[in-house]
Symmetry: C2
């Protein structure tokens, strides 16, 4: 290492660094049609081998966590042509990954609305022990009537959902803390298995849920799992500010993201916490290919006929009529001059910006302008630039990446984006430790945070 | 192979053969003190490596299944000196085992009383897919108030528990069958992911539970998991006769076991099923050591001081006063002559039989005469003889084995008992197939059995 490299490394060590997570949905990837792409195993949906391999790819890229959303709702609408959106079972998938990875955090969604808290407490803590301290629980409320119907129920009011959510998280953290840190003695000489005085019932009974406890699971290497939350309502800010160390955001612009991030930070402060304890993670969808043209062609191949079907919606975003027979032509100057952006869709400005660059209608759509997160379709440096800009503007503490097609899209990100971020000193060179708390910089916690 | 061997093998092929399962509780073994034994990892309770190794040992012995009981109740009574009775989480444990074994069946208890049926359906089917068709669900009702308290509830009446259990099993089997056998097309050429006409909502709403469905998990190699049941009440006979392919019994004598087995078979018949579709599995606890004396010494070492504390209960079983200061002496002829067996404990006759053999009080207790299943303390041939006698008397279709200490007790059974049973032609030489249905001889089933 020469002098300037050493200096750079030292500077980088002081620099704040971003977090990166991998969104692992149904396993094929985030784009419709991913299951059909050449090189993709069409049976990947049921392949735990494939899930493990994908997690290992993210671990090679030093991602802090994989994130498995869940929402067991309706599947019939698109099943003829598309895979269901989620993993077969998020906990069993993470159990497999826990056994075959060493550092990466393991995060899954578990609804506070349709689970018995004791069961959730037990499975996430068992996963935490199994993974030697790498578990995170994305504690959400369920709001889809299609999900409720699978439980033979209706969705409760927002007040009741969040009321229950607060109780469920408190109860679960209490169960996690019901074995004291040093309770497990397992001394074969003295015959003392556990310190009876450090294993206590919790005896909680709220309006919605209750439990006597204790749980029967000793602490993991990180004590207990970390709480994640996803959502953007005032209720979500309140819940996350109280309990979460990581929030999964959904924003299309730096301004939106900054506003969301600040709202979560303010909420944490109002609960007596250091706002830096809550990390705001913005979404990013990626098609990383060496040049923009090749990347767009990949997206066009993926989307097939469905791409042009979105013209109608693009028309609304731009406020001008678009002619399907001219899908391979750019917008005329007259069209661009009369465009009036939809105020209902925050993605409209980006769509117009891309249109102004002179891309054809098909290419505009292939840029993912109607996708549900910001999209990078191009070489790795474009993703790195985007991430750096957001990160340095205070719009995000990190990103959760949704590759278009997992089978090669994770590797593309790891090989083409991660090294640039590392070179720029804004992403770590290696894992800081073995637990998720160490790797995301979350404070130690056992049981309920005494401040909240 | 010479002529007589060939002939023997042919004869054996026609012979009915027994099933064997391994009871995997907390992982240490079935005897108190197991966690303290020399050679045992005192941290085995949280070691998924250890659970996998134990399952692999059973698979080496061609066991048809491992069986993980569960009942998340109180743990405080014995925690100072003993491990909790169950696995940290039965489903995550089986997920780990599924990834690292190939043939053995994976069975866990899941309560119909305190689980959302949709969640149970999903996890067991995901396990079934993950293990390529090796999952079994021990569908029980929870009856302990200590379990209910962990869910902030009271135990429902027996009528309500079994009423709900019937609905839950029906609903879950319906969800399992909601993807037709050939529904998953995944044809990359045509773009057809699934046959929409073979994936149907179930729209069940009962008195206790309901669900719209469908599930979003395709069939496993065995279609769907197998139902196990454990219990001995009229309600249990009724439930098992309707749904179960395997019942986990608890009987101390051939007569008891025959009566239980026949009751389950009669119940199956009354539901229009072939009684051979329901396999009755008797319990057996084992300390397999080369000779009886060494085996008894192992049990004495395991039990420590707790052994002599059981003298009071032995006294009740035999109906005679026993002197703790004479614990290392056999009963006198006068004592034996005046013994009056307790009619409340079916184990009493066996205790007297062992006493009559001239063993000391300590050795009588070390025979496990107060354990919760029949016990073999001695060389492998004694276990084989016991199993053959029960099997050939029609008292059991198989056995679930609870070794005293798992770390060496599973291997002892595999090395010392299994070869004798195989030699006698009453246990298979190798797995019949890759699925649990193939290996226990359960009929194909998809969705609800149309006969019940």
């Amino acid at each position: 290492m020469n002098y300037s490299e050493e200096k750079k490394e030292q500077l980088n060590a002081d620099k704040k660094q971003m977090l990166i997570g991998l969104h692992l949905g149904n396993g094929y990837g985030s784009q419709q049609g991913a299951w059909r792409m050449p090189g993709v195993d069409p049976k990947s949906y049921t392949s735990f081998d494939a899930r493990v391999k994908q997690a290992q790819a993210a671990e090679r890229g030093k991602f802090q966590f994989i994130f498995l959303p869940d929402g067991p709702g309706a599947v019939l609408a698109d099943i003829a042509t598309e895979a269901p959106a989620f993993n077969l079972d998020v906990m069993l998938t993470l159990a497999a990954v826990a056994r075959e990875t060493q550092y990466i955090g393991l995060v899954a969604t578990g609804s506070t609305t349709f689970n018995e808290p004791f069961n959730l407490a037990r499975q996430f803590k068992a996963l935490d022990v199994m993974s030697h301290g790498r578990a995170g629980w994305n504690a959400i409320t369920s709001s889809g009537e299609d999900v409720a119907a699978n439980y033979g129920k209706r969705i409760p009011s927002s007040e009741d959902r969040y009321g229950r959510a607060h109780e469920v998280i408190q109860l679960i953290q209490s169960l996690w803390g019901s074995w004291g840190k040093d309770a497990w003695i397992h001394n074969q000489e003295t015959g003392e298995f556990a310190n009876r005085n450090e294993i206590l019932p919790i005896n909680l009974q709220g309006k919605y849920v209750g439990s006597r406890g204790p749980l029967y699971i000793p602490p993991s290497e990180q004590g207990q799992p970390i709480i994640f939350h996803a959502g953007g309502s005032p209720n979500a800010y309140e819940l996350a500010g109280r309990f979460a160390n990581v929030v999964i955001g959904a924003a299309f612009t730096i301004e939106d993201a900054k506003a969301q991030r600040n709202a979560f930070r303010e909420s944490a402060k109002s609960h007596g916490r250091n706002p830096d304890e809550i990390k705001y993670i913005a979404g990013l969808m990626t098609t990383i290919v060496k040049d923009r043209r090749t990347a767009l062609d990949r997206r066009i191949q993926l989307a097939g006929d469905s791409l042009v079907q979105r013209l109608g919606y693009l028309q609304q975003m731009l406020g001008i009529p678009l002619n399907p027979s001219k899908v391979d032509e750019p917008l005329t100057k007259a069209q661009l001059d009369t465009a009036r952006l939809s105020r209902y869709d925050p993605r409209s400005a980006n769509a117009l910006k891309i249109a102004q660059e002179g891309w054809s209608l098909r290419d505009i759509l292939a840029h993912g302008v109607i996708d549900y997160h910001p999209v990078i379709v191009g070489p790795g440096v474009e993703a790195a630039d985007h991430m750096q800009a957001w990160f340095e503007a205070g719009a995000a503490d990190g990103f959760w990446i949704s590759p278009d097609v997992n089978s090669d899209g994770i590797d593309a990100f790891v090989d083409e984006v991660v090294p640039i971020l590392q070179e720029r000193g804004i992403f770590h060179q290696d894992y800081e430790g073995r637990t998720l708390r160490e790797n995301i910089g979350a404070p130690e916690q056992y049981g309920i945070d005494p401040r909240v």
